[in-house]
C-alpha cells in the first residue's frame, strides 16, 4: 500500500496506462490512507464511494483505450471549489449544509480528464489565513514535526488541507487557490510543490470568491512535473469568467525537458529584508548557486515598490472580500439565524456564521471603501498595485524569471503567531507581489531548516509564461534532491 501512495502522479499515470496498476487499487490505497490519517483533519468531506465509482469508470476507460490524461488519478479538491452534489463550505459555518447544484470549471476540467474525486480539503475560512487555524472545521495538522518536538505545526494556509493531504500521501495531487500566497506558503510549509498560475489562466467560475482580482486556482503536488500535468487540465479559457484569458494552454510538462541553460534569473535586492532569517538567506544563496551551475545567469534587479505590496494587498483583498461576502445573508442558502427584522437576521446570521478573521477582514474592507477613506486607502493601494506591476515589467526587460524565498520562515506551531494578525500577515511577504501583478509563481521545496522542517524557494515568471517558471522550478528540484519525508504519512 505504501508503494502506491508514494508514487508521483506521473509515475502512477504511467503504471495505470501500462495496466500495471488499476485505478481501483490506487484509489483504494488513498481512501485507506485518508482514513488512517484522519487525525490530520486535512479533509472536511471525504467521498470514498464517489472515489471508487470514479476509479471503476476510469478502469473501464483505460481498458477501452479511452483514457484521459488524468484517468484514474486520485485527487483532493480544496473546499472552496463548488462540487455538484457534494457539500461545499469554504470552511465557514455560514455555508453550513450548502450543496452546490453546479461544478466549478476547474474541477469539471479534472473530471473531464478522468481524475478521481477523493473529497474536499480543509482550508482557512473563505481562504483567509496563513495557518489553517481559521477553519470552522478545526485546524489542519502539518504532517511534519520539528526534530525532537512533538507539537502540532500548522500546514500553512489557506490551502493547508490540500498541502497536508499531498505531503502525507493522501492524494496524488490537489487543487488549491492562491490570493496572496495560499498555494505557495503551504507548499513551502509541507515540502510540496504548488504553483499559482497567471491571473486568468484558470477559470474562477464556481470557486467561492475571496478577492476576485487576486484569486487564482492552481495545483499542489509532490513534484514540479506533477503540477505541470495538473495545471494543463485545470487551465483554459472559460466564457463564464470574464477575467479568464483566451490564451492557448501549452503542454507544461513537455516544457520541462528544455532545461534552463541561458535563462536570466533575477534576484530582487528589496527581498533581502531586514531581519531575514540566516537560514532563509542561506537557502536563497543556495538556490542562486544551483541555477548558476545549471547554466543560468544571475542578475540583481530592483522591485522598488515591493515593500508596499503587503499593505496594498491587505487593503485590496479585504475591500473585495467585504463586497464578495455580502451575499452570505441567510436569505437564499447556507446558514440562517432568524431575527425580528431583516437587519436583525443579517446581524445574527453573519455574526454566528463568520469567524473572527473573516469578520476582521470584512470590517477592514468596509472601512477602506467607505466615503472619506476610499482615496486614502483603496485608491492609493490600486496605484501601488499598478507601480508593482510596472516594476515587474521593467524587470522582464533584463531577466526571464525571478528567484526569491517562498516564506520568511518554516512552519510554526499551532497557537504561534496568533496574538497579532500583522505577524500572521507577514507570512505573505514574498508571495503577494505575484498576486498583485497577476504573475505566475511556484514554490518548490529546497531544503530543511535546523529543526528539520521544509523550506521552499519561489520562482516568479512573466504573465502566461508558466513554462519558464516550471523549468526553473524543475532545475531547483533536481539540484535540491529533496527526499525528506514528513513524519506523518501514509504507510509510515
Amino acid at each position: 500500500m505504501s508503494a502506491l501512495t508514494d508514487l508521483t502522479l506521473a509515475e502512477a499515470a504511467r503504471l495505470l496506462a501500462a495496466k500495471k496498476v488499476s485505478a481501483t487499487e490506487l484509489t483504494q490505497a488513498h481512501v485507506d490512507a485518508i482514513e488512517a490519517l484522519a487525525s490530520l483533519n486535512a479533509f472536511i468531506v471525504t467521498t470514498p464511494e464517489r472515489a471508487l465509482a470514479d476509479a471503476k469508470r476510469a478502469d473501464g476507460r483505460i481498458a477501452a483505450g479511452e483514457a484521459g490524461p488524468l484517468e484514474g488519478i486520485p485527487l483532493a479538491i480544496k473546499d472552496l471549489f463548488c462540487t455538484a452534489g457534494i457539500q461545499t463550505t469554504a470552511a465557514s459555518r455560514i455555508l453550513g449544509g450548502f450543496v452546490p447544484p453546479y461544478e466549478s470549471t476547474v474541477s469539471a476540467n479534472l473530471w473531464r480528464d478522468g481524475a478521481v474525486c477523493l473529497g474536499k480539503t480543509n482550508l482557512d475560512e473563505f481562504a483567509m489565513g496563513s495557518s489553517n487555524t481559521t477553519s470552522a472545521y478545526g485546524n489542519v495538522v502539518n504532517p511534519w514535526k520539528r526534530r525532537g518536538d512533538n507539537r502540532d505545526l500548522v500546514p500553512g494556509g489557506s490551502s493547508g488541507g490540500s498541502a497536508a493531504a499531498v505531503a502525507a500521501r493522501l492524494c496524488l495531487g490537489a487543487t488549491a487557490t492562491d490570493t496572496g500566497g495560499s498555494i505557495r506558503q503551504p507548499a513551502a510549509f509541507t515540502g510540496t510543490v504548488g504553483i499559482k498560475p497567471t491571473y486568468g489562466r484558470c477559470s474562477r467560475w464556481g470557486i467561492v470568491a475571496f478577492a476576485s482580482s487576486l484569486d487564482q486556482a492552481g495545483p499542489m503536488a509532490r513534484t514540479v512535473e506533477d503540477c505541470a500535468i495538473l495545471l494543463r487540465s485545470m487551465a483554459g479559457h472559460d466564457p463564464k469568467d470574464s477575467t479568464s484569458a483566451d490564451i492557448a494552454v501549452p503542454d507544461f510538462a513537455a516544457a520541462l525537458g528544455h532545461g534552463v541553460k541561458g535563462l536570466r534569473i533575477g534576484v530582487p535586492k528589496e527581498y533581502r529584508l531586514e531581519g531575514l532569517s540566516p537560514e532563509i538567506a542561506a537557502l536563497w544563496e543556495q538556490g542562486i548557486a544551483w541555477l548558476k551551475e545549471a547554466g543560468c545567469t544571475i542578475h540583481e534587479i530592483g522591485l522598488p515598490h515591493a515593500k508596499y505590496a503587503l499593505p496594498a494587498y491587505y487593503i485590496v483583498a479585504p475591500a473585495e472580500a467585504s463586497s464578495n461576502l455580502a451575499r452570505y445573508d441567510g436569505v437564499r442558502f447556507g446558514l440562517r439565524v432568524p431575527g425580528d427584522s431583516l437587519d436583525a437576521q443579517y446581524e445574527a446570521t453573519r455574526g454566528e456564521g463568520f469567524g473572527a478573521e473573516v469578520r476582521r477582514r470584512i470590517m477592514i474592507g468596509t472601512y477602506v471603501l467607505s466615503a472619506g477613506y476610499y482615496d486614502a486607502y483603496y485608491l492609493k493601494a490600486q496605484k501601488v498595485r499598478a507601480l508593482i506591476a510596472r516594476d515587474f515589467d521593467v524587470a522582464w526587460e533584463s531577466v526571464d524569471a525571478i528567484l526569491t524565498p517562498a516564506t520568511p520562515n518554516a512552519a510554526f506551531a499551532i497557537g504561534e503567531n496568533q496574538d497579532d494578525p500583522v505577524t500572521m500577515y507577514l507570512n505573505d511577504i514574498f508571495t503577494v507581489t505575484a498576486n498583485l501583478a497577476g504573475l505566475p509563481g511556484i514554490a518548490v521545496p529546497a531544503g530543511l531548516d535546523a529543526s528539520g522542517l521544509p523550506l521552499g524557494l519561489q520562482v516568479i515568471g512573466r504573465a502566461f509564461d508558466e513554462e519558464t517558471v516550471f523549468r526553473v522550478g524543475r532545475a531547483i528540484e533536481q539540484a535540491a534532491g529533496f527526499t525528506a519525508m514528513p513524519q506523518l504519512r501514509a504507510g509510515a
Binding site: 463548488c82 452546490p100 466549478s104 474562477r204 464556481g206 467561492v208 470568491a209 477575467t243 463586497s323 466615503a371
Partner: protein
C-alpha cells in the same frame, strides 16, 4: 411663457432634473442568461448568477450594451468607447449579491440632448448628463404573509438604463414633455417599451425652487414616480411644499421623498435602511467595457428615423403644419400608418382624416393603430374616392363609419349603399329648378341682395339629392339658375 409659482414672499421658479430608469428590451438579463419576460410566476426566471450563489460570475450581455449605445445615439449623446462597471454595495433582501452592478464613474453614454415640444408650439432643449447601465433588483412582497416578506427574483439582474437629465426643466409641463419625448425616442429605438404601469420606465424627480436670478437651492428627490401625470403633479406638489418651507423661515433638507398619488402630496421616505454609504468600487469580476468605434458606427447606420427628424420630414415632404407633424409622429406605428395613407395622395387631407375621424374612431372603439378596424389601404382608398369625386366629403364620413363598423373596402360600401355622388348635370339642373320653384320667396330675397341665402339653397339641393350631389356642380348650377 415662464412657469412660476406665487408665494407670500414673491414669485418662485421651479428647477427640475429627472433620473429615468428604463428597462432595456432584451431576451436575457444584463449579466446572466435568465429570461426577462414580464409577468412570469415568481422566481422562475432566475439563474444562479442572479441569485448570487457562491462562485457565480457575471458575463455582460452584448445585446444590452448595443441597446444602451442605440439609446445614446438616439439622445444625440457622446458614446464612451471605454466604460466600467462598479459595485454599489448595500444590504437588502431583494438584492442577492449585496451589491448592484452599476456604472458610477465611467458611464457608457455621456452628455446628450433631447428637444421637447411644448403646447404653445415652441421647443426647448433639455440636456442629458449621462446614461449608464445597471442591474435591477428583485421585488419584495410585503403583503403575502403576516410577519415575513416574500422575495421574487425574476426582475433581479434585468438591465436598466439610468438616463439622467440636467436640471434644465422649469415646469410640470416641461417635465411631462421631456418624459413624453424620451419615451417616444426609446420606443422608436426599440430599446425600452416605456410601459410605466409595468414599471419598465420609472422616474426619480429632483425638485428645487428659487427666486429669479438665484443659484440653485437644496433639492429633494421624489423617488419612483410611475406615470407622466404623477411626475407633473409631483413637481408642483413638491415645489409648493418647498416654497412653504422657505417662506415659513425654514430650511429645505436634502432628502428622498415619495409621491402619494391619492393625496397629491409628497412625503419623506421613512428609510427602511440607514444612511447609505454605497462603497462604490470597480467590479473586479468584469473587465472594462471597450467598444469598437466601427461597431458603434454600424449601430448608428441602422438607427431608425427618430420622431424629430420624422416630423421635420413630414413638414417638408407633405407640407404639414408643425402641430400635425408632431401628432402623427408620436408613435412609430401612427407615423407609418399615416405615410401609407398619404403617399401619392393629398397629404393634408390624409392628415385631417387621421387626426379627425380616424383617431376619434379608435378612441370610441378602444382600439389602437395595431388592431384598427380601418386599414391604411382602405383609408387611402376612401381619400381616393373623395379625390376622384366618386363621393363628396359628407358622404365620405358616412362611408367611414361603415368602414369602422365592418372593416370593409370603401368602394364596396359606396357601391352597396349606392352612395356615388351625382355628377349628371341634368339631374342637378332638375333638382335645382325644383328647389328654386318651391322657394320663390327666398329666390326673390336672394336676388334683392340677400347673398347669405345661397347656403340655404345648397343645403336644400343636397337634401333633395340625398347628399349625393357633387358640391361644386351644385354650386355652379345654382349660380347659373339664380342668375
Amino acid at each position: 411663457m415662464t412657469y412660476t409659482l406665487e408665494g407670500t414672499t414673491g414669485t418662485w421658479e421651479v428647477v427640475v432634473g429627472l433620473e429615468v430608469h428604463a428597462q432595456v428590451i432584451s431576451q436575457s438579463k444584463l449579466f446572466s442568461g435568465a429570461a426577462t419576460a414580464f409577468g412570469a410566476e415568481p422566481n422562475t426566471q432566475v439563474s444562479f448568477v442572479d441569485a448570487a450563489f457562491p462562485g457565480m460570475l457575471p458575463v455582460i450581455n452584448g445585446e444590452c450594451v448595443a441597446q444602451a449605445v442605440r439609446t445614446g445615439l438616439g439622445l444625440n449623446a457622446q458614446i464612451n468607447l471605454e466604460s466600467r462597471f462598479d459595485r454599489k454595495n448595500y444590504f437588502y433582501a431583494d438584492l442577492p449579491a449585496g451589491y448592484q452592478i452599476s456604472q458610477y464613474q465611467h458611464p457608457i453614454v455621456g452628455t446628450g440632448v433631447v428637444t421637447i415640444d411644448l403646447a404653445d408650439g415652441t421647443t426647448k432643449e433639455i440636456g442629458i448628463t449621462r446614461l449608464h447601465l445597471e442591474q435591477d433588483a428583485g421585488k419584495s412582497l410585503h403583503d403575502q404573509h403576516p410577519t415575513k416578506s416574500y422575495i421574487d427574483l425574476n426582475r433581479a439582474g434585468v438591465a436598466l438604463m439610468e438616463i439622467v437629465s440636467e436640471p434644465d426643466i422649469r415646469s410640470p409641463e416641461e417635465a411631462g414633455a421631456y418624459l413624453t419625448k424620451l419615451r417616444q425616442i426609446l420606443r422608436y429605438l426599440g430599446t425600452c417599451d416605456g410601459n410605466m404601469e409595468e414599471g419598465s420606465m420609472r422616474a426619480d424627480v429632483n425638485v428645487s425652487v428659487r427666486k429669479a436670478g438665484e443659484a440653485y437651492r437644496t433639492r429633494c428627490e421624489v423617488k419612483n414616480v410611475n406615470s407622466i401625470r404623477f411626475v407633473m403633479q409631483a413637481v408642483e406638489a413638491e415645489a409648493r411644499r418647498q416654497i412653504a418651507v422657505w417662506e415659513e423661515g425654514g430650511e429645505v433638507a436634502q432628502e428622498t421623498r415619495l409621491f402619494d398619488s391619492a393625496r397629491g402630496t409628497t412625503r419623506s421616505m421613512r428609510s427602511k435602511e440607514h444612511a447609505h454609504d454605497y462603497r462604490y468600487f470597480p467590479d473586479p469580476d468584469l473587465l472594462p467595457l471597450v467598444l469598437d468605434a466601427g461597431w458603434v458606427e454600424s449601430l448608428k447606420a441602422k438607427l431608425p428615423e427618430l420622431p424629430d427628424a420624422k416630423a421635420a420630414r413630414f413638414m417638408r415632404d407633405y407640407g404639414l403644419p408643425a402641430y400635425d407633424a408632431r401628432v402623427l409622429v408620436a408613435e412609430q406605428a401612427t407615423a407609418d400608418f399615416y405615410e401609407a395613407v398619404a403617399i401619392g395622395r393629398d397629404a393634408k387631407l390624409a392628415a385631417n382624416w387621421m387626426m379627425g375621424d380616424f383617431f376619434a374612431a379608435l378612441n370610441r372603439t378602444g382600439r389602437t393603430i395595431a388592431d384598427s378596424p380601418v386599414s391604411a389601404a382602405n383609408l387611402g382608398k376612401l381619400i381616393d374616392l373623395i379625390a376622384d369625386a366618386t363621393i363628396n366629403g359628407r358622404i365620405a364620413k358616412e362611408v367611414f363609419e361603415a368602414m369602422v363598423e365592418t372593416g370593409d373596402d370603401p368602394t364596396a360600401i359606396v357601391d352597396a349603399k349606392g352612395l356615388r355622388q351625382v355628377t349628371d348635370t341634368g339631374a342637378i339642373d332638375a333638382a335645382v329648378a325644383e328647389v328654386l320653384a318651391r322657394n320663390a320667396d327666398k329666390v326673390a330675397e336672394y336676388r334683392s341682395g340677400k347673398d347669405k341665402l345661397f347656403g340655404f339653397f345648397v343645403g336644400q339641393v343636397m337634401k333633395a339629392m340625398a347628399g349625393k350631389g357633387n358640391p361644386a356642380l351644385v354650386n355652379d348650377v345654382l349660380r347659373k339658375q339664380l342668375g
